[in-house]
Structure formats: C-alpha cells, structure tokens
Symmetry: C2
Subunit: 318 residues, 2 copies
C-alpha cells in the first residue's frame, strides 16, 4: 500500500503539496471559497467517453464551477476491493491525473482503503473540492419570472452511455458520455456582467430533476419547450427503444443556466463560441405559476407537468 | 432518497449552509487553511467506545488539528449498501451529528449513493475537512536531534476494540476504543509558544508507523523506551493473547508530539491537565543516527529496530 501510494499515486498526481505525504494539505486562501464532495460508484468502470477516474474529477470540478468558483484543489479517496487488477487501477489514476491537469486542479490530499472481496465493487472514488469564488451572488433567490432557461447542449448522453455499456445493449451504435470538465465554458462566463443568476449541472436525475430543484428553490414555476431541448438522434432512438425519458437521464458535461431575459441572447452567443456550448439552446423560461412546478410544452402542443423523479434514478450512473 | 436527505440528514446535521441543499457549500476564508480527506470502512459498524459515524468525524477533525488548524467545515459522503436498516443509518447519522457538534465543525456539503446488495458492506463514509490554521510552521523539517517524543496516553485501544468485536473474542473484558475528537486537548496547545514542532495522530499502522514516518520525513532517527510507552493492562493482556504488537495497532484519540527538549516538560504538564492527556508520557527522543529509523529500548534492556509495517495493517480498522 505504501509503495502504491508513493509510486503510483504521488508520481502520477505530482504536485508539491501532495508530495509532503502528510495526512492533510495546507493551502492559502484570502477570500470566499466553494467546498463540495461526491462519491462515484459508477458501473461499469469504463464506458464510451469516460471512466470512473475522469468522472470523479469532472463531477467535482463542475460542481465548483456552478457556484461561480474556479476549481483549485481536490482530495482523492479510494475504496478498493481486494483483487482489483493493478493495470485497471493505474488506468483509472492516469485518467484522474489527466483530467486534473486539464481542469487545472491540484490533488493535494488523499486516502486509500482496501476492503475484502465482495465487500465493494472493484473501486469507489470520493473527490472533494475547493474552489475560489470569482462570481458572487449566484443563487436561486435572484431568479424572477421572465428569466430564460439555457442548456449548453444535448442531454441524456452520460446516463445512456453507462446504461448501454452495463447492459451490453446492442443498439447498433455507441452513445458517448458527455463527461467533461466545463472550466473553459464556464470560467469566462463568470468574468463579465451577463445576467446569469444561477447555474446547476443536471447530473443524477437529469434535466427534469434540476429544473424541479430550481422551481422549488425559487418558489416560481418553469415552462420548457420540448422542441427546443437538444437531444441527439441516437439518444432519441435509444430512449424510445428503452422506454426511458431523456429528461430524467444523467448528464456530466451539461449546465442549466438561468439568465436575465434581456441578456439571454448574449449568454447564448458566448456559449456558442465554445466547443462545449455550440449546441446551446434557450429551452424555456421562469413563470409565476404553478409555483414550484415544471411545465413541458410538448412537440404535440400539449402541456404536462414534469415531476420530480419518484424513487431512485438509474442506479450507479455516477 | 430525497426524503432521506431532507428529513434525516439535513435535520440532524442542521446548519444554514447545508440547508440551502446546493451541491456545494460557500464559505468565507481569509487565511491559510488545512484540507484533508478520509474514507471509513470499519467493520463492524459499532464497537465499544464508538461507531463508524463517530470515527468519520473524529478521524478528519483530528487530522486537521495535527496541522495546527481549528477544524471548521466537514463534508459527508455516504455509500450505502441496499438493504441497510433505516434504524442503523439513523443511529450512525445521530453519531455524526453529535460528534460534529462536540468538535464544533459544521457539515456543509454531502452526497449519498446507494449500491446493490453485496456491492458494499453496509455503509462506507467519506469525510473531508477544512480547518483554519492558527499555528504556522508545524513540520517534520523543524525537528532536531534532542527533541522529545510525547504521546498523550495509552496506545492500541481503538484497533483492539474493533478487532475483538469483529472476531467476537471473549477476552473476559471489554476494550474500549479511544476514538475521540482532540479539539479540547490540541487547540489550547496551538496558542502559546511551547516548542511543539510536529504532531501526527498514530491511526492506521499505529505508533510504530507514525514514528517511522517522522524519522523518514526528518531524515533523523528516533529512540523510544518501551517502559515509558503507556499501555493499559487490558491491552497488554489482549496483545499477548493475540500475538499482536501494540506498537502497530491503530489509535483514534492519540497524538504524537515532537517537542523542543527544553520545553517538553511544559507541554507534558499542559497535556496532563486535560482528560485526554492525563496519561501523557515522554516516550523517547530524536537522535542523529540511524537516519530514518526507529530504535526501541526494550524492557529487557535490549535494543531493536522498529520497522515500518510490512504488508497491510489490520484491515478495516477505520
């Protein structure tokens, strides 16, 4: 274990704070910070477009960005099932290291526990993160009727990718997870006065769950237009085959933005210039009533309530 | 799940930051901070003197204290095996809440994942922590030959308590874990100029592992005197029966301090005034050679090298 920590972990995640090999890290701060945690139990460990290591970095990095923070420091805690192949573990750590570099975060503290066979499933990863807040006041409390709802691209790709791989579904095509750190998309948006009031990443439970949380948090309603919600043809086909509503499927590279109506087009244009935002759309707006509810205008011109997901979302999708 | 989070978690861990139910927490900082993470996979979940919830708070709180920091914020991430009894979960969360209050930390962000039966073992908990550093410069780099090694009390109680409970050993007596948050012992020590150069909590791998880490980190040697190392009679008997060396058994309420020789007695006296330090002892000192090694003067007046533990320490002790 000591060898694994020194040779594999510390080398691959190379930075001076981690190198000191203390139990904790000392870091300097002179302002507001964001703090978040997530455990990752995704099954299978590898899927088209990502793996548990990439996911563990992106998930926490994106959570920090949503708070108006530049992600800076991550912790990395591994729970490993006895018998996990060294090669698999190294591949995962390589992925953690690669995406930590890509999203400019330092992994400064860590922990490794091993449990007996069949007391875990290969590997679980927890990352906690600290970010420096550069945009204050992002809050559901600032949302007003008329504010526009924007999403940066196609929904439901992460969840479907993992599900298809897990069930070894032969869809005749691959669905790639959208898992990606959103630094390049979000950080520039934090730096100018553009009417963004709130952001959240629609992960577990998908777009529907996030919009319900926004509606409940703000005490207002939300109406979205099905025809404006970006869904790739592959995802549409897969969802129909599987009988799954893409609104409830997890994303790992998406952000829902609530933006002042007068400034929504400016934000949309800014998003469109970035690779992660080129398919961005205004999908709806905030309304007074029904309070705390999400209404969908369907393609068939009917209206229905989009409820909070009942029961568990797809298990072990992240 | 949503109900569990709202009704059980948020209520029991009550504080305004967590209540906002965002994915992350926003906190204010104007100085250096300490950041640490630990996963807890202890088996069984309940043992004399503690449980996984108490352990998850104490472990991370104590790690922060060791860096000269006042523990302030904790994250709490649960990985729950399907079928865990609600009553058990609530008992654990009660314990987390109780010891968070006791050690004056706020749990400001969290995460809950559920995995299928036999893909985890009841519950695993990760806590990450942030503390405000009030004592700068605690570092193995400051250690010099002649510095004294102090421990605040009896060793090996946590590991033996868990082991005895797990194996249902009938020792004829109970060994109680020493698991406790050390705030009341450590924070006062951070506030005056008392020659403390370094602190570490001898958890997994026990006192022997911690001393080896200090020796290796400082590039100096350490000599300890067996007759001065505090071990309770019960632990001594249990270790003899089980053929275990108490030097390698985990502690969860102990601290190893390296202190300037001229000031060691002052620190010892200060420790002795506290409940968690009334059995504190000077157990040895730093020497020039052998570099990076720990030497034990035994009760029989022989000398032997105390090596780094080979292989895994007792599994799932924390």
């Amino acid at each position: 274990m000591h060898e694994f920590i020194k040779d594999t972990l510390v080398k691959k995640l190379n930075n001076p704070i981690l190198k000191s090999l203390g139990d904790s890290a000392v870091i300097n701060y002179k302002q507001s910070l964001a703090f978040t945690t997530d455990s990752f139990v995704v099954s299978p460990l590898f899927f088209p477009g990502g793996d548990i290591g990439k996911l563990a970095v992106c998930g926490t990095v994106n959570d920090l960005l949503m708070l108006g923070a530049v992600p800076e420091y991550l912790s990395l805690a591994l729970i490993i099932e006895e018998g996990l192949e060294k090669k698999t573990l190294e591949k995962i750590i390589d992925s953690v290291a690669f995406y930590a570099r890509k999203s400019k975060v330092k992994i400064v503290t860590g922990d490794t526990k091993v449990v007996e066979k069949s007391n875990a499933d290969k590997i679980f990863i927890n990352t906690s993160g600290i970010g420096r807040i550069i945009r204050d006041g992002l809050s559901v409390k600032n949302i007003k009727p008329g504010d526009k709802i924007i999403i940066n691209g196609n929904i439901a790709e992460h969840g479907l990718s993992v599900l298809a791989k897990r069930k070894e579904l032969d869809l005749g095509f691959n669905i790639k997870s959208d898992c990606i750190p959103l630094n390049n998309l979000i950080i520039p948006l934090l730096k100018w006065d553009n009417g963004i009031k709130f952001m959240r990443d629609p992960t577990r439970g998908g777009l529907a769950t996030t919009l319900n949380e926004v509606a409940q948090g703000s005490g207002l309603g939300i109406v979205i237009n099905e025809r404006n919600i970006p869904v790739s043809p592959k995802v549409r086909v897969a969802c129909e085959l599987l009988g799954i509503d893409p609104l409830y499927v997890a994303n790992e590279g998406k952000v829902v933005l609530v933006v002042d109506s007068l400034k929504a087009k400016g934000v949309l244009a800014a998003l469109g210039k970035n690779r992660q935002g080129r398919n961005a759309k205004i999908i709806g707006e905030v309304i007074k009533k029904p309070k705390g509810r999400v209404v969908l205008n369907t393609i068939l011109n009917t209206r229905r309530i989009v409820d909070m997901l009942m029961g568990e979302p797809l298990p072990r999708i992240c």
